[in-house]
Symmetry: C2
């Protein structure tokens, strides 16, 4: 009987949510690693950005998003937003009876794998940085590490405005990251799903000796491991992608291509939750 | 009997709403001009910013905000947000049975009073500029005017981040306003409540020959005229100010002082509507 349930469950789609477009960078890595899985992406664009909202409302929105995905009958939920992962993951795990993974633990893990001198930085939204979640993880596991958390709140609007290759973005990068220049760091984590679009400029500013890490790749691997462990990898050989947004499906389609790296079809706009 | 109703009504507070902090620049001008009026300010910070949301959701949020203020028994509603005024004013006037004024018409009026050569620019959010509302007004009243509408979507996050005097804001101003430099404009309207905080830098960039206009002052005057016409000016000699927000009352108190020009007390955080 159990086998039969699993047979059904494992072919259900994977649910992914984010405050808007950013999570599509995570979806892109999931598609690369798990090309046969069906995916449902939920972008809560009516409430974006999460990164400057309070913990209370980030939890509220995250629970609503996850419950929406649960109704779509997904087998697992990926919280593809650092601010939501930082504040809402515990609440989600408590409230939902299906596996939930976020981007924080995979990001932290790949940062710790990358560093040799244990002098590292984490760049994120104000919400993510203020949550102190990376600081707690680093202090628990590597108490002697030198850790530099930097909130870069303007990176999201710069990317949303398509300025991720613009010289003004380089100047903002200079402004935010200047304090890192004399710290001898060797690895930096992009702890916001928008930031990978700025990776090239950030890499140029920090120089080749610093590894710039996008947690999307590690998150996709963590998801694959979880699916393997729980025997939830799909048995199908084809995949489909569906998208739901709470504001402006048209804008999501147009701008989303930059984040996902492919054309976006099948978007449904629903009422804000 | 009518006189008695008006006696009661005229001492009710004025309701003001905005997506967050910006409308406090309008409230400041209302306080200066109408110091005896009680004011209730509603900041829908759970859904901010409005300027990059769709018309549908801007109307949805505006109606919810106005209905909340109506329940607080206000005598008039001021829509202190250009994006909401641009998209939702008609819906608000239709749905509510009390007077509603926005910031668009007063801003347009003061722009037309300021210009001598009828070469003018309007700076706003993407929503406000895309609504074409100023363009329609100008074409109706002054069909020969040269009109330059410019969306400056990064101005809001720059101001929200407290960078309104920062050299990076000057560079963004240069980037957005460069097309105006050879157009011989003599007046520019700041059609977003955040932009007055950038007035000094914008004025420096455009030079002394260009009048930079904040619609908040004209909005306060339009409100006064409306109250006079409808015999709704208060008879009281003292005033009180109440604030409601849908996210992070603490942040609103701290950052709001820059916008209001005075200390903010008496803020209540309520659930998103």
């Amino acid at each position: 009987m159990k086998t039969e349930v699993n047979m059904l469950t494992k072919d259900l789609p994977i649910g992914i949510f984010d405050s808007g477009l950013g999570g599509l960078t995570v979806m892109q890595e999931i598609i690369k690693l798990l090309p046969n899985e069906n995916l449902i992406y939920f972008g809560d664009s009516a409430h974006l950005p999460y990164g400057n909202k309070s913990q209370k409302n980030i939890i509220r929105y995250s629970l609503a998003n996850a419950k929406f995905l649960q109704k779509q009958k997904v087998k697992v939920i990926v919280v593809a937003c650092n601010s939501a992962s930082a504040y809402a993951l515990d609440a989600l795990k408590k409230e939902l009876d299906l596996p939930v993974i976020g981007v924080i633990a995979p990001g932290f893990f790949s940062l710790m794998q990358a560093t040799k001198n244990f002098k590292v930085a984490v760049l994120g939204t104000r919400a993510t940085i203020n949550s102190n979640i990376y600081q707690k993880l680093i202090l628990q596991k590597h108490p002697k590490a030198s850790f530099y958390p930097i909130a870069c709140p303007l990176f999201v609007p710069l990317v949303e405005e398509g300025l991720h290759k613009h010289h003004l973005s380089s100047l903002h990068i200079h402004e935010y990251l200047q304090p890192l220049k004399d710290k001898n760091i060797d690895a930096v984590l992009l702890a916001c799903t928008h930031y990978p679009l700025l990776k090239e400029l950030i890499q140029n500013y920090l120089g080749k000796k610093v590894l710039v890490i996008d947690p999307a790749i590690a998150t996709a691997h963590a998801l694959k491991e979880l699916l393997e462990e729980q025997k939830l990898l799909t048995s199908k050989k084809s995949s489909s992608y569906k998208f739901f947004v709470t504001d402006d499906a048209k804008k999501f389609k147009i701008l989303g291509q930059n984040f996902l790296g492919m054309e976006i079809k099948n978007v449904k706009e629903i009422e804000p939750l």
